[in-house]
Each structure stands twice: as C-alpha cells, then as structure tokens.
Amino acid sequence: MYGSFLRAIILLGVASMPFVARAATPFELTSVRIDLPDSDRMFPDGPGSDAINNNCLACHSAGMVLNQPALSKQAWAAEVNKMINNYKAPVALEDVGQIVEYLTGLRGAK
C-alpha cells in the first residue's frame, strides 16, 4: 500500500517534469534474502553427453544451450573455445572434440 501511494506521488512528480525531477518523499529499503531456483536438467543422452554434462554445467544450466538454433560445427567450436579462452571454463582438453560433436549433432545442424 505504501508502495502504490509512493508511486502515485512519483508519477505526479514526473508528469510535471518530463526530465529529471526531485523525488517527493523519503524512501527506505528493506534487506532481502532469497533462494534462487536451480535446474537439474541434464543434456540428453548420446555420444559425448557425459563430456558436456561434466564440463559445462558448473557455470550455466543446460537450458540455454538446448534453446540454441541449429549451428554449424565451426560455430559450435567457436562457442566452446570462447567459453574456454574468454570465460576460463575449466574444460578438459580431451573432452573438447566430444563436446563440439555433441552440440553439432544436437539439432541436426548443418
């Protein structure tokens, strides 16, 4: 209720001054403690799925990878190398080839 009251005041303030305007009332913050959801989704079984599950899920969940469009082997290799070189992903060197193959085969990419 306080929030909507405050919002009404702020909206009035802005209506009269389209650019930066002074806020009308003091504002207080409240400490926050939450739990973020996690994902236990694994990459679907197939050749190389162990390699991708073991190397890639530390930094990000599987969902976004599985949402990618069909990409060429070259494009996937560039992505995996970006993760290793730019984002310092601790991917075991012997697994890189398998991960790229897995991703390339994921959606029958050309």
């Binding site: 303030g13 389209p18 207080e28 409240t30 973020l36 530390a58 976004m64 310092k88």
Partner: protein, 411 residues
C-alpha cells in the same frame, strides 16, 4: 578432478561433484514450469517454459535458469508504459549472485583517480544526496536476437528483453563530485557484486567516458516504479544510463573506479562490441570490420494489442495500440501501414513520460475487405532517425530495430 582447485565457490564445488555422479543429485528445487510458450523464432526451437519459480518475480519466460535469463511475456507491454517490476526481464552474466543483501552492511566504494576514496552506505545515498527520478527504457543489447536470420548464438530472446521503469536514485555526477574527480580522468568503471564461478574469469565491469558519467542524467537507482528493485534486477543499487543499452546498467553496483586511462577490461573492449557501420550491419561472414563498444539505443515500435495470426473484422473500425521509444532521444512520430508499406498513416501518441521511456501510441483503422493483411509500424525519433525497412545483421545479434510486422486476417 584437478580443475576443482580452480573453482573457489563451495556451491560450485558441490555442483561439480554432483554432476559427476548423476542420479544422486539433490539440488534445490528446479523452477517449476506451469505452462509453455512458443516464441516465433525462425527455424526454432521456440518452446520455453513460463516460470513462476523466481522470488519477487511473476510469470516469466524461462530462457536460462542459472545464471538467470528471464524474458518478459509480450502481453505485459500492452498494460501501460511502465513494466511491472515482477515481470521486468532479467539477465545475468555470472552464476555467483549474492542472495542475501543486508542493507546495513552494503556499501558503495568510489575510488581510483579521485581526491577522496569514498565508502557510501545506503543511508548515505538515500538521505545524503539529492534524489532524482527518470523514466527510462532498459533494453538488452541482444533483445530480439532470436529473430536474426541467419540465426546467431547467444540468448535466444524474442522481443521481451526490454522494459521501462520510473527510476529513483541519485545522480552519478553528485557521487563523483563528492569524491572529487582528478584532472586527467578519462573513464569511470562500474562493477557489481556478481562473480564468475571460475576464479580467473573476467569480473563483469563496464565503463563510460568521464563526460558521459558526469552529464547529470546517468544515475544510481535505488528504486524502480516506486519500489526497491527485485534482487534479480540488481537490488539494492543499479546504474541507470538513459538511452544506452542495458549492458551499461550494472546491477548490484558496489564499486566505482575513476580511470586515468581507457578501460581495457574484457567486457568493455572485447565483449559487447558492434561493427562500426550504419545500423551495426554487416553481411554474414564479412570479416576485417572495425568493432566499437555498443552504445546508444535506436528507435523501436511494437503493436501490443493484436498478435500475429489474429482475426479482426473487415469493414469495421479496429483499434490498434502499441508502445514505442526513440532510443537515445524522444519520439517524433509513429506511422503504420496496412498495405505492406505502400502508404503510411500517423498514429496518435500517448502521454510523454520523458525522452527515454516507452510511449504508448494508438489508432483506428478499417480493413476494406476480407483477406490477409500485414501491419507495419515505424517510429521516427526526435533526432529524425527512423526504423529501417530491412533487418540488420551482425554476429552477436545486437541492435535489432527493423520495422515490425504483424500478420492479421480480416474476416
């Protein structure tokens, strides 16, 4: 598992061990999908869960659980120009995000090429400096990336990686003046509390030129739409850079460093760069292109009350409504076409809430006879820049702002 030594977070260590023994996982509960949505991404896949599993958030399109990428369902934009906090999109780079913020312990450091290093409490910021407010669009550089053709890797957003809020906070200029910027300063670098999982990975940081940082518009926000920010939108402090892409709007801002030489950190110099060409547009496969950091936004407009493939009556007035924004300035006009761009008609603009925010537009039109029609909408901003007729392309999928189309059927 020697690589565990490289990882410095307990949660991550547990995860690495966890994924090595599949089947024995006992992680925290996954975000529950109530339903799914099918985003119209060319070639797919477009199916995404709608999640309500994120604290302080309502129903969101789940692009990635960890680190969170949550897209605003597009129908939200029909409700008004201010995007509700609980459906404002979410985008994080690194998975180590503090989930427990004590407002009594949080502090913002201002350091570097300054006369006085500052450590400001939230109380100092809320009550020790003049407060300002501004309506401004926060849009991901890669908003609409999933619509690029040929497709490019990255977050596969439809058009919902954007939102508009009324931001309340303090001027960055006032904070910098309090520290006293030394002569010879060239940039200001911003860092938040998020941390990479891997210790030697580049901490997320962004920089602005000193004159931009001191322009009196860039602000440090502690409220959006009259409420404190949801944690996943950057509580307690977020940089607001009006007219610039959201990559600069650093979340959980706790460190400001004034630099006396240009920032060369990865996130400013290498990531988030665009071809230095009109519309950041190149041909797929084109190489040897000069790249520059992404910067000012460009105009966009959307229909919000009629979805593609929707049926309307022919020979009767139909109301068309949407939102628009000018990018780095205000909106001059929104035009629409019902004949694939042969003729254009001006729509009525709604209330002006400020140059950098969403603005509603509305019109009525009558489709003369039954059949298929394509509606086009085009914003021209107050600098005279209009949305282009053809989509741009670049390998990162940045800065899409082509004239949007909606296919409708008159019956």
């Amino acid at each position: 598992m020697a690589e565990i030594g490289d990882l410095h977070h307990l949660i991550t260590r547990r995860r690495l061990l966890g994924v090595a023994s599949v089947g024995a996982l006992a992680l925290t509960s996954p975000s529950r999908a109530e339903t799914t949505i099918d985003l119209p991404l060319p070639g797919g896949p477009g199916a995404r869960p709608i999640t309500t599993g994120f604290p302080q958030k309502g129903p969101m399109i789940l692009q990635r659980t960890r680190p969170p990428l949550l897209e605003t369902p597009f129908e939200v934009f029909d409700k008004g120009v201010f995007t509700p906090n609980d459906q404002f999109y979410v985008r994080w780079h690194w998975a180590v995000i503090p989930t427990d913020i004590d407002i009594g312990k949080f502090s913002l450091t201002v350091r570097g090429h300054v006369n006085r290093t500052l450590s400001l409490s939230l109380n100092d910021i809320l009550h020790g400096l003049p407060s300002v407010q501004l309506s401004a669009v926060n849009q991901c550089s890669g908003n609409s990336r999933g619509l690029f053709q040929p497709r490019v890797p990255g977050g596969q957003w439809a058009n919902g990686a954007m939102g508009n809020a009324l931001w309340t906070g303090v001027r960055l200029k006032d904070v910098l003046d309090k520290a006293g910027v030394k002569p010879g300063s060239v940039q200001v670098r911003f860092k938040g509390l998020e941390e990479p999982v891997v210790a030697d990975a580049p901490h997320f940081m962004k920089s602005l030129d000193i004159d931009h940082a001191r322009d009196g518009e860039v602000m440090i926000a502690y409220a959006m739409n009259g409420e404190q920010l949801p944690l996943v939108n950057g509580f307690p402090l977020r940089l607001v850079v009006p007219g610039w892409y959201a990559t600069y709007w650093v979340k959980m801002l706790n460190d400001i460093e004034v630099l006396n030489e240009p920032d060369t950190n990865y996130w400013t110099k290498v990531a988030y760069t665009i071809p230095d060409t009109p519309h950041a547009n190149i041909k797929p496969g084109e190489t040897n292109v000069k790249m520059v950091p992404i910067n000012r936004m460009v105009p966009r407009s959307f229909v919000t009350n009629i979805a593609s493939s929707q049926q309307v009556k022919s020979g009767a007035p139909t109301t068309l409504r949407g939102i628009t924004f000018g990018g780095d300035c205000g909106v001059a006009s929104v035009d629409y076409s019902i004949d694939r761009g042969k003729s254009w008609h001006q729509a009525q603009l709604g209330k002006d809430e400020g140059n950098y925010g969403f603005r509603q537009w509305q019109t009525q039109f009558t489709l003369p006879s039954p059949g298929k029609y394509t509606l086009l909408t085009r914003c021209t901003n107050s600098n005279g820049v209009a949305q282009p007729d053809t989509p741009n392309w670049n390998p990162a999928g940045f800065m899409r702002n082509v004239v949007e189309s909606v296919d409708i059927i008159a019956a």
